[in-house]
C-alpha cells in the first residue's frame, strides 16, 4: 500500500473541508442572526467612515462613489486581518484535534483563512449590490483587478497567519502585540483614504506597506485611470510570498512546541 503525494493531498483536501464545515458552525453558531453578523460588521465599519467622509466633505477620486471606495478598502483588509488574527489562534485552539493522524497543524489555519476569504467575498458582493440598490454608482471596470486583489489578501492573510501562529506557540506575548500591529496597519493602509491624496513625503513611507498596494489595486477595478502608477503589484506579491515562505518555515519549526502542550 504505497501512499503517494496525491493520496496525501486528497486527505488534506477532505480534512480542510471538514474543518471549514465545522468552523461555519462555530464561528457564528451561538448568535441568533448567524452569518448576517459578517454583513453587519462590514457595513457598520464602512458606514462609520462613510459618515466621517461626508462630514469632512472628502471626495473619492475619479468620481468613484464613497461606499465602493470604502468597500474596496475594507473587504481585502478584513480578509487579511481576520486571516491573521483568527489564524493566529487556529493551531493552538485545535491542538487536541491533532490526535487524529489525518490532521496536520497547518490544516486548521488553511481552513480558517479560506473560510474568511470566501465569507468576505460574499459580503463584498452583497454590499456592492446593496450600494447599487441605494442608487450609488457601482461599475466593475476591470474584474481581474478585483480578483487578484482578493487573492493577494488571501495570500497575505495566510502568510501572516502562519507567521503569527508560529510565533504565538514559541512566544505567547505575540497575541498581545499582534492586535497593536493590526491597529497600526488599519490606520496606515489606506482603508479610508487614498495615497494619491497624501503629501509625497507620507506617500513615500506608505508605499512600503503591501496592504496599500492591495487596496489601491482593488479600487482600480472599479474606475478607469485610478492612478495605477502608484501601484506595484509585483512588490505586493513578492512581499506576500516571502511572508508565506517564512511563515511556513517558522510554523514547521514551531511544531515541536505543540507536543509539550497537548
Amino acid at each position: 500500500m504505497a501512499v503517494t503525494l496525491l493520496d496525501g493531498f486528497k486527505v488534506q483536501k477532505r480534512v480542510v473541508w471538514a474543518l471549514m464545515l465545522r468552523e461555519t458552525k462555530t464561528l457564528f453558531g451561538k448568535h441568533k442572526l448567524g452569518y448576517l453578523w459578517a454583513v453587519i460588521n462590514a457595513s457598520f465599519q464602512v458606514g462609520v467612515f462613510w459618515f466621517i467622509r461626508e462630514v469632512a466633505g472628502a471626495q473619492p477620486p475619479h468620481g468613484m462613489s464613497t461606499p465602493v471606495f470604502l468597500l474596496g478598502g475594507f473587504i481585502p483588509w478584513l480578509i487579511f486581518n481576520n486571516g491573521v488574527t483568527d489564524g493566529m489562534n487556529a493551531i493552538w485552539a485545535n491542538r487536541t484535534l491533532l490526535t487524529y493522524p489525518q490532521l496536520f497543524p497547518l490544516d486548521p489555519l488553511i481552513a480558517r483563512v479560506l473560510l474568511q476569504s470566501a465569507m468576505q467575498t460574499v459580503v463584498f458582493a452583497i454590499l456592492l449590490c446593496t450600494a447599487w440598490g441605494m442608487g450609488q454608482h457601482v461599475e466593475i471596470v476591470t474584474p481581474h483587478a478585483i480578483f487578484i486583489s482578493l487573492l493577494l489578501a488571501l495570500l497575505l492573510g495566510f502568510g501572516g497567519g502562519a507567521m503569527c501562529s508560529a510565533l504565538n506557540l514559541m512566544w505567547p506575548t505575540t497575541s498581545q502585540l499582534v492586535p497593536m500591529l493590526m491597529r497600526l496597519l488599519f490606520f496606515t493602509s489606506g482603508l479610508f483614504f487614498t495615497i494619491v491624496d497624501l503629501p509625497s513625503s507620507l506617500r513615500a513611507i506608505l508605499y512600503y506597506n503591501p496592504l496599500t498596494h492591495m487596496i489601491e489595486y482593488m479600487r482600480s477595478g472599479f474606475v478607469t485611470d485610478y492612478g495605477e502608477h502608484y501601484i506595484s503589484l509585483s512588490y505586493a506579491f513578492t512581499f506576500a510570498l516571502i511572508l508565506l515562505v517564512f511563515g511556513l518555515l517558522l510554523e514547521r519549526y514551531a511544531r515541536r512546541y505543540l507536543d509539550r502542550m497537548v
Binding site: 458552525k25 451561538k30 487524529y100 507536543d259 497537548v262
Partner: protein, 220 residues
C-alpha cells in the same frame, strides 16, 4: 501490522532532557492482543500517541499497514458548542466513512438518545466518553488503542464494551497500556514492558508480569 523502527522520543525537562523512548524497534502483528505494562510516568501514553500518529517521534519511523484508532475514550477532539451529531459528522468526514451508518450505530450503542442533538458541553464526562467510544466502534479499526487511564463509563457500559471487543476479536486487535497487571491479564495475550525508555516483549504473559514485578520502584 504496525512497525516501529528506531523510535526515540525525548523532550526537554527544565534544563535536562527527559528520554521517554530509547531506540525502540518493534513489530506489532494483528491477531493477538498486546498489553504494554509500565510504571507511572514510564511514557505509556506517549508511546500510544506515537503509535496512533498523534505525535511524531524525535527520530525514527512508524509504518502502519492497518487502520489504527485514536486512544479510546479520547474525547478532547469534540467541540463543546457543537452537538454530538455535528461532532460525529466532523470525525466521519476526516476518516472518510459513511456518516449515516456511523450515526445509527453510535446512537444505538451509546444510548445517548436525544442528547445527540445537544451541545457536547452539556454532556457529563461519562457521556462524552460513551460518544467517543461508540464512534471508535462504528469506524472499523484494525487496531484499537486503549489507555487504561481513560477507561470509560459505568460497570454496565464497560461490560457492553468488553462484549463488543470480544465480538470483533477476529478482525480487531487491542493494544492496551496500563500499570495494572489485572487489566492486562483480562484483555491481553502477550505483553511488553516499558521501563526507562526500553520496551521488552514477552510472548508469555506470566514471564512478562514476573519481569514487571521484579522492577525496582520508579524514581522521579
Amino acid at each position: 501490522m504496525i512497525e516501529l523502527i528506531n523510535i526515540s522520543k525525548h523532550y526537554p525537562l527544565g534544563r535536562r532532557k527527559k528520554i521517554v523512548l530509547r531506540n525502540i524497534n518493534a513489530r506489532i502483528e494483528p491477531g493477538r492482543n498486546l498489553g504494554i505494562l509500565g510504571q507511572n510516568g514510564a511514557g505509556k501514553s506517549t508511546l500510544l500517541r506515537l503509535i496512533g500518529g498523534a505525535e511524531l517521534p524525535t527520530t525514527g519511523k512508524i509504518f502502519r499497514q492497518a487502520k489504527v484508532s485514536w486512544p479510546i475514550g479520547f474525547s478532547g477532539g469534540f467541540h463543546g458548542s457543537l452537538t454530538g451529531r455535528e461532532n460525529l459528522n466532523f470525525i466521519c468526514r476526516i476518516f472518510d466513512v459513511d456518516i449515516d451508518k456511523v450515526a445509527e450505530f453510535v446512537e444505538e450503542f451509546s444510548g445517548l438518545g436525544d442528547y445527540m442533538h445537544m451541545p457536547v458541553n452539556t454532556y457529563s464526562s461519562g457521556m462524552k466518553a460513551k460518544l467517543a467510544f461508540g464512534l471508535s466502534m462504528a469506524i472499523d479499526f484494525d487496531f484499537y488503542l486503549i489507555d487504561e487511564v481513560t477507561a470509560v463509563g459505568d460497570a454496565s457500559f464497560q461490560k457492553k464494551s468488553k462484549a463488543e471487543f470480544d465480538r470483533r476479536k477476529d478482525h480487531s486487535t487491542l493494544l492496551v497500556v496500563s500499570h495494572n497487571i489485572n487489566t492486562i491479564r483480562e484483555h491481553c495475550e502477550t505483553v511488553a514492558i516499558l521501563h526507562e525508555g526500553d520496551l521488552t516483549f514477552f510472548d508469555d504473559l506470566d514471564d512478562g508480569i514476573a519481569f514487571y514485578n521484579d522492577l525496582p520502584a520508579a524514581k522521579h
